[in-house]
Structures are given as structure tokens and as C-alpha cells.
Symmetry: D2
Subunit: 229 residues, 4 copies
Amino acid sequence: MAHSRISPPIILLNFKCYLEATGARAVQLAKYAQQVSEKLGVVVAVAPQAADIRLVSQQVKVPVFAQHIDPIAAGSHTGHMLAESVLEAGASGVIINHSERRLRADVIEDTIVRARGLGLTTTVCANTPGIAEAIAALNPDMVAVEPPELIGSGVAVSKAKPEIITDTVSRIRRINKDVMILCGAGITSGNDVREALRLGTQGVILASGVVKAKNQLAAIEDLASGCRR
Amino acid sequence: MAHSRISPPIILLNFKCYLEATGARAVQLAKYAQQVSEKLGVVVAVAPQAADIRLVSQQVKVPVFAQHIDPIAAGSHTGHMLAESVLEAGASGVIINHSERRLRADVIEDTIVRARGLGLTTTVCANTPGIAEAIAALNPDMVAVEPPELIGSGVAVSKAKPEIITDTVSRIRRINKDVMILCGAGITSGNDVREALRLGTQGVILASGVVKAKNQLAAIEDLASGCRR
Amino acid sequence: MAHSRISPPIILLNFKCYLEATGARAVQLAKYAQQVSEKLGVVVAVAPQAADIRLVSQQVKVPVFAQHIDPIAAGSHTGHMLAESVLEAGASGVIINHSERRLRADVIEDTIVRARGLGLTTTVCANTPGIAEAIAALNPDMVAVEPPELIGSGVAVSKAKPEIITDTVSRIRRINKDVMILCGAGITSGNDVREALRLGTQGVILASGVVKAKNQLAAIEDLASGCRR
Amino acid sequence: MAHSRISPPIILLNFKCYLEATGARAVQLAKYAQQVSEKLGVVVAVAPQAADIRLVSQQVKVPVFAQHIDPIAAGSHTGHMLAESVLEAGASGVIINHSERRLRADVIEDTIVRARGLGLTTTVCANTPGIAEAIAALNPDMVAVEPPELIGSGVAVSKAKPEIITDTVSRIRRINKDVMILCGAGITSGNDVREALRLGTQGVILASGVVKAKNQLAAIEDLASGCRR
């Protein structure tokens, strides 16, 4: 199963719809991720836009995540995102319920089941500790808590609201020992990552902190350095 | 501008989320479209899934349409479909508001404006003659009327409900002389296409009639033959 | 038919979800509307929240509009707004597609048809002149254009962006001679109303300009005075 | 707090958008509920449409639930359902996330918080045991599991799929000792209720089994008889 490959800690780079991470620039950024991953021995996964999944996954060996899939069966669903399609294009995982693409509760469960059936690693985002616990009850591979007000702020959740992380960890661990816990929002440095891990997470998810960095490679390397003990 | 290339009649093949038109099979199907297009001199455009747009457009010269885009600017829009992304991947057009992906009225207008700004040909679907007229007021390149109850039925709208086509044509032409008018739903044969053109349209949009055909190439060739006088 | 009662000009007061226009205060505000309506001979319609429709319509004679209905048939639709329900509660009209409750294009058409079938006057909102023209193609009783950026701003559309009104009027009149045209966004005074009418509309729609006024009665009276020649 | 009044078992009658439970007929049905409630000492709550909440709650003493609220603050939210509005109209509780009105995960949490802050009893519906457990993590007053395929079927979940109920109960009780657990879908008789309680629930939610009954009063009385030991 694809998701058995990932061992913590993990840095998940979300390319969102940034032009700095579209098409040829998505490939370049993914290569940086791979360089750092190989150099520091840290999993750095990338989540390019749908139209770039195949291009990126043909060029790098790091895990490639789709940013969204719909829990549909193959068939007449014009304009939707089919799990088999992103899988054939080379994705090994999927982000579900990102704060910029929130889903109905039942759709989250259906999507987890759908992805798991194809061996796609599931990373489900949560905007609060409560939602994080609720999602943990659905047994995804990873839950990523991200307070939306800090996303893209440059103010790291691990510094500004550490209680959101510790509350998430304790609520989730009460009911689910296995799920990996990530945090995100405002993460930009190795220190932010180190602090996130110290608070009980197994990794981080971020976007602008790397995508918008003047030196993307250096930004990833700094982040990954925070994973080392 | 990309859309200036298309001259009627047009056959627009929507690959939807069919496995028979995913990944490698999307490329095969697009090649059939190209073969027929070159042989019969008819525009046969293809609309693969997002993750297949680049793969398909690298292999064929027929127009490639995205099945959907969001009217977002580049930026933090995880899991959305950015116009620049599908454009860089090779799309020259986009389907908007398909019956399986209906949009808010304001989103339709925003999407048309967004696509037009990048030179993407806009094909906006309508479920009724009224909606077709309303959409024509927004000046897309093409309006495609498709009664949803006949989509995928194998019963051609041009035979079963010709009044929907003629009503659409007369309502649209009252306010918009330029927009190309397509029809769809249940189209499977050259006769269906011939009848659609005779009723005043400039082309057809279809999916299962080709994608699910035992002989996809023969199905496309039959359809295209209906475009000849 | 209920909507045959309304003759222009019209002032449509949208109570939104303001506490100052909820429950007992909705009744009070509606009574002010009626007072002014009777005094100045201008139609002042009110649109209270769903739970207040019956209470308000039992106490006043001015037209009462629902703020939204769903285009459903009676049946198993928990949490939806049934046309028959608001009709039995005393509504004679309905606002459709307000900027704070935008709808899919097909849903707008279905809702117009549904409301018309029961004799409910339909006022469909549009965020741009293009959408206004598109909606006029669907033949509602009234189209109300409101640039969303001016809603609640206190800066009247009729002063700040008169071209939006004149563009809307000319685009709509090209295809529909009958529909009443309203405008809204930032309207607070009789002068705003006078200007709106001078630009070719048959009325205005507003909310905070009255609901949030220190003297609601005086605010309505001022608005209505703008309807007099 | 309003919800402190409810002690199990509970029968929650959802009026949906049935004409047989609209307006004057909603009042009649609620009176039947009250009659049975007083006679048998069982809580029979009613959930009329929004426009009927005040009318119903003025005429009966049984708990009245809204079928939906939006997690908005008072203000400019045309066409939405404000908690304060249904509260002032007489509601003491609210149904959230019914299968016919499913919500985003984050909206469910926000709605629970919003309702709780006003003392409204929260009954959150779940389509599966997994979603039921997830929702229990959000600490509503009641969770109601209803397999959607049995809703309105007349085939009781307690007979056809008892494992859904027992699975729900054991998953929820693992993480939440306090929340009341209801089940629904296909419930029509006292035997169905008795079986539901025996399987570990504290009540049932139903609609058509009562609303569509030839003798609504007799139907409610039969259901309530299932609550007696």
C-alpha cells in the first residue's frame, strides 16, 4: 500500500494554486524537495495542482499528494477529481478537507474510504482541535490541524497557539493511537518545525512559507533541519 | 487567441471521469479524435480529466478542453482548478457549468471573464432553453444545451426533444448572433449530429456515446460523418 | 395573482438577519413601513426572516417577501424553505439569489418557475449588469442589481456607480420590456432613491440604511419621499 | 438552559417539508404530539418548518426544534436561519446535519457551539456509525444515526440494520458517556421504538411514519407506547 511508505516526521508542501508552483515551476520545487529529502533523510512530500501531478511525479521520487479528490466512482462526473485518475497520474496520497476546500462530514468519510481502497495515503485537515478529534474517529492516515486565521500569516501556530497543537494531540490520542498528527499555519522555519514536533506532532504542512520564499531550496532545507534531533 | 481557431461544426468529446478515458486510455481516445478530425476535416475537440490534460495535449493537435475551472486568481486555493494551470498544461478551452458540475450564476460569469482573459475558449452548458438564453447574455464562445434527463440515455435530444434545440436557437439568436450553439444528451450517431445541425446548432457535445462505444474510433467517425453536407 | 398587486415605484426593505429586525422588532419595523406606505402612497414591501413571516404578515398589509425559498416540491426536505410554507404564512413574494445567498443558475430558474406557479412575486438579485440581463431572460417579476462591494456601505450605487444602473437598464430593456428593475447597495436617502428612479429603475432594495437607522420610521419616510415627483 | 428539560426516552417528530405538516396542519400534528406526551409521559418533540415555529410553539408545550440553523452571527445574512430568530420564535432545540441538509464538518461544530451558547438543544444527525462517533467528539446534546437508504422506507433501521445502531452505540460510548443517542430511518411502530431502545439508544427520530399516517394521533401513540417498559 502506498501509504505504508511514509514514516514520520513528514513535511508536506502544499503547492496550492500559486503560480510559483505551477507547471514547470512545480517540477522545480518538487526537485528541491527531493534534494533536501535525500540530503537530510526527512520525508518531504509535495502536493501540486491536479494538472501537474503526472508531470511532477514523473520527475521526482518524493511522495506526491493530490490537493483534493471527490468520493465518486468512475463514471459521468464531469469536472470532478477521480481517485483512479490521480493515482494513475502518480499520486500516492491526497489532502482532504483543506481549509480552502472544506467538505461535508459525510463526504470526508466517503473520501477517506475511497482513497484507502486504492492505497492512497489520506491527510485530512481540521480547523480546530474538535474537528481534528472528530476526523481521527474516521481513521485517516494523518490529521493536520491548521487554525485558518494563521494560514499564510507567517506567524507559526507552534509559537502563537501551541495550545491548539497540544489540545489536538491529547484529544486525538484519547481515541486514536495510530493516526499521524500534523500541524500547519504560519510555519516557515526549522524552529517552527522543531517546536511542532516537540508539542507532539509527527510533522507539518505548509505552503507559502516555501512557495513564496526567495530561496525555495534554502527554505525547505531549513524546515527539514528542524526534524533532526 | 486560442478560441479563434475553432470554426464550426464542432464535436466536443467529454471524457468525464470514465476509466475508459482516463490516463493512457485518454491519450488513445484523443488520438482517435485526431485521426477522424484529419480525415474528415471536422473539429473534434476533447475534454479529458484535469490530471490528463498535459498528457493528452502533448500527444494530439486537436483542441483540448478542461472540464471545469474555478474563477480564482492564482494563490491560496488548495484543491481548486486554476485557469493558468490548465492553460500551461495545454488546454485551449474549458467546459463551464456542465450538468454534473453546475455553478452559481455569478460564478459562471466570473469564469467566462477569467477564461476569456487568458484566451481559453468557453463552452457553457445549459440545462434548459431559458438557461441557454441567460448564458448567451454573458457572451461565452459557445453555449451547449443539454436536457439532463437525456444525458447518457442513448436517446438523442435531436430526435426526442427537437423543440428544446429549436427553442434554444431562437431564444439565443434573439439576443446574441455570434455565440456558437451546441446541443447534447443522448447523441450517438452521425444522424443525430446531422439532425442537430439541421435544427440550427453548430455542433454537439457528448461523452458515453463515444467513450463507452465498443469501437471508439468508428463511433467518432460516424459522428463526424454527420457534419458533412 | 399576488404579484399583480405591486405597481412601481417600490421600496423593498430586506430585514436580513439583523436583531434590530427580528421577532417583535420585525413587526415594529413592518408597521413603520405600512405607516409610510399609507401616508405617501408608495409601495414599501418588507422581507423578514422566515420565522417571522407569519407574525409580520398578520400585523401589516404591505407586501411581505420571503428572503429565500428552495425550488423543492413538498416532501422530505428537512431544513429547506418550501414555497407553500411561506405562502401559507402570508408571504406574497420572494427574494431570490441575494448576494448573501447566491444560487446556481438552474436553481434560479427553477425557483422562479416554482414561485410563479404559486403566484409569489419574484425579485431576483444580480451582482452585475451581465447577470441582471441573464436573469431578465428568465422572466422574473423584478430584477434587482446590487454591486456587492457597496452593500451595507452607505455609499449609494446611484451616486457612486450610476453606470452600473444605466448599463443594467439598457441591457435588460434590450431583451425584456416588462420586468421591473430595482437597484440596491448603499441606498440610505430619498435623494438616492430619486436618482435611482431617474436612471431608469422602478425601485430600490435596501437593508441597513433603514434597519440600522437611529430613527427607522424617519429613514423610511425619507426614502419614500424620493419616489415622489 | 432549554435542553436541560429533556430526559430520555425521546421521540423527535420531524415535519420536514410535508404539506401534511405545514401551517395549520403543523399545529394539529403538534397538538397530537402533546396529547400523547401528556397521556403516556414520554417526551415527544416536534420539528416544524421555520415559518411555522412560532405558530406551533405558541400552541403547544412540547419541545419545538428548528430543522436547521446557520452558524452565523446576527447581521447581513439574507436568506439564512439565525439562531436568535428561531429561539425568539419559541424553538428550544435544533436539528443539525440531517441527511437532507448535510453540512461541512466545520459548520457542524460552529452550529453546535452557536446553539449551545443560546441554550438550544442540539440534535446532530449522522449517516453512518463513523460519522456518529465523529460528531460525538463535538459534544452535542444528541446524536441521531440514520442510514439514508432507509429514510422514508417504512423498513425500520432497528429491524433491518440493528448492527448500525449497536455499532454506533459502542463507538460513541467509547468516547462520550453523556450524549443521548437516537436512531432513525423507517421507524413506524412502537415495536420499532422498543427495539431501538433495547439496542442502546435513548430515542428515535422520524417523519413520514407519523406525518403520512392515516391516523397521525394513533401513530404517535403507538410509537410512544414502545417507550414504556
